[in-house]
Symmetry: C2
Subunit: 244 residues, 2 copies
């Protein structure tokens, strides 16, 4: 990536906070150490202590927890512009594992650099903390999805949330987005069997709401889908920053 190209993270932050030239410079510096990981290889194992966080530049990752009985629950997906292991660096704890869904490209951010950035550019620091807080809000919403919505609402809500997130970094729109997930990813995330995921997707497609095919999510009736899902974006686009 050239210095002139805008990183997804920068794009995301800029949507909510006015960043100074200094902030932008620091942000660019955090993106320097590029690393790639192959699809399927576990990156951080649950319980490990990491000394680096990553900013995802390209590709998708999922974070999950394995159960004693072998089933896995996907907690969240990370898309370009998202942090990986931010909390585990700041707080020396990691309570779930990460796995790249496709080959990914990420910027490694050593603990030291991150802490430096925090002290030198407090405005950037709050912006990053705000991002972390937004991630937590998404986890809470995911919890609500699992606890009190049926299969098709879960699916609809989830696909809409992903769309909103991708749109923020320029990878999606109200008409759809490219999506490397398999049906079993959806199953593990939404607490359904992949058989049922398949049926729900067919139902939604036949109802003319959304199609999930060949790595493409296409919104056929955005408004209808929003209504079915009860999708309110308040938890995603809390306006602006904050001060610490």
């Amino acid at each position: 990536m050239h210095a002139t190209e805008i990183s997804p993270l920068t794009k995301k932050l800029a949507a909510f906070v006015a960043l100074s030239d200094g902030d932008l410079a620091v942000l660019a510096r955090l993106h320097q150490k590029r690393r790639s990981f192959g699809a399927g290889r576990e990156m951080v194992h649950e319980g490990e202590t990491e000394q680096s966080a990553y900013i995802l530049a390209k590709g998708w990752v999922c974070s999950y927890k394995l159960q004693p009985d072998g089933t896995r629950q996907i907690i969240d997906f990370q898309i370009p512009g998202d942090f990986l292991g931010l909390r585990s660096v700041l707080l020396r704890t990691s309570d779930h594992s990460f796995e790249p869904i496709v080959d990914i490209l990420a910027a490694e951010v050593p603990k030291k650099d991150l802490l430096e950035a925090f002290t030198n550019t407090p405005r950037l620091a709050t912006a990053i903390l705000w991002v972390a807080s937004r991630d937590e809000a998404m986890v809470v919403e995911h919890l609500v999805r699992l606890g009190s919505r049926d299969a098709s609402k879960r699916m609809a809500h989830f696909l809409l949330e992903l769309g909103a997130r991708l749109t923020l970094v320029g990878l999606g729109s109200k008409s759809g987005y490219a999506c490397p997930l398999r049906q079993y990813h959806l199953a593990d995330a939404l607490g359904l069997s992949s058989v049922h995921v398949n049926r729900v997707l067919r139902d939604l497609r036949e109802a003319g709401l959304v199609s999930f095919r060949d790595g493409q999510v296409k919104f056929l009736d955005y408004a209808g889908l929003v209504k079915l899902a009860g999708f309110y974006t308040a938890y995603l686009d809390e306006t602006g920053p904050l001060l610490l």
Copy 2:
């Protein structure tokens, strides 16, 4: 409460971090403004921006989100020693509502005091951030509960987690604890109907594992319950602090 009495929060922090006299003094000061709230009255409404956080001293609170269709999903319960609205103060956002389950007593912590404490006693600040991080880990675990465990495992796991949390502040033990929750609280938290909650509780009681009656949770076979639930405490007792 007298200055000599140890607050639940102090007890909790002390279990993980060695606090200096200075830390303890600041912590005591944060506990000064006492306020009480009646059971059932909503404290913070979803979407509101609050200028104060609270440290719960006595009683139980639940945080929840309401769905368009009227059902509510309980995100978490707060017990003595827990923060209320910590994130909403630090980040000017609140994405769920709070409701006292019984009459409660809480210490109001104005934003200003909290920020002061953060700058003056960094060690205490990290301890508090660590507490926030632990709360988030519990939300994630709750998500896993909802996504990939059946009703009785959910219940067993939940009752065990509550027990572990209460034990940390001296309100519980491996033999049980006082619990003001109603069966419908369990239902709203675990994504079950209260009818089914009732049945599951009966089953667990008749299996000689745990009883939930008259405001008392009694562990009849702790080891057996742990085994049934697949209850691992790693996410609760990450050792020690951290540095920021």
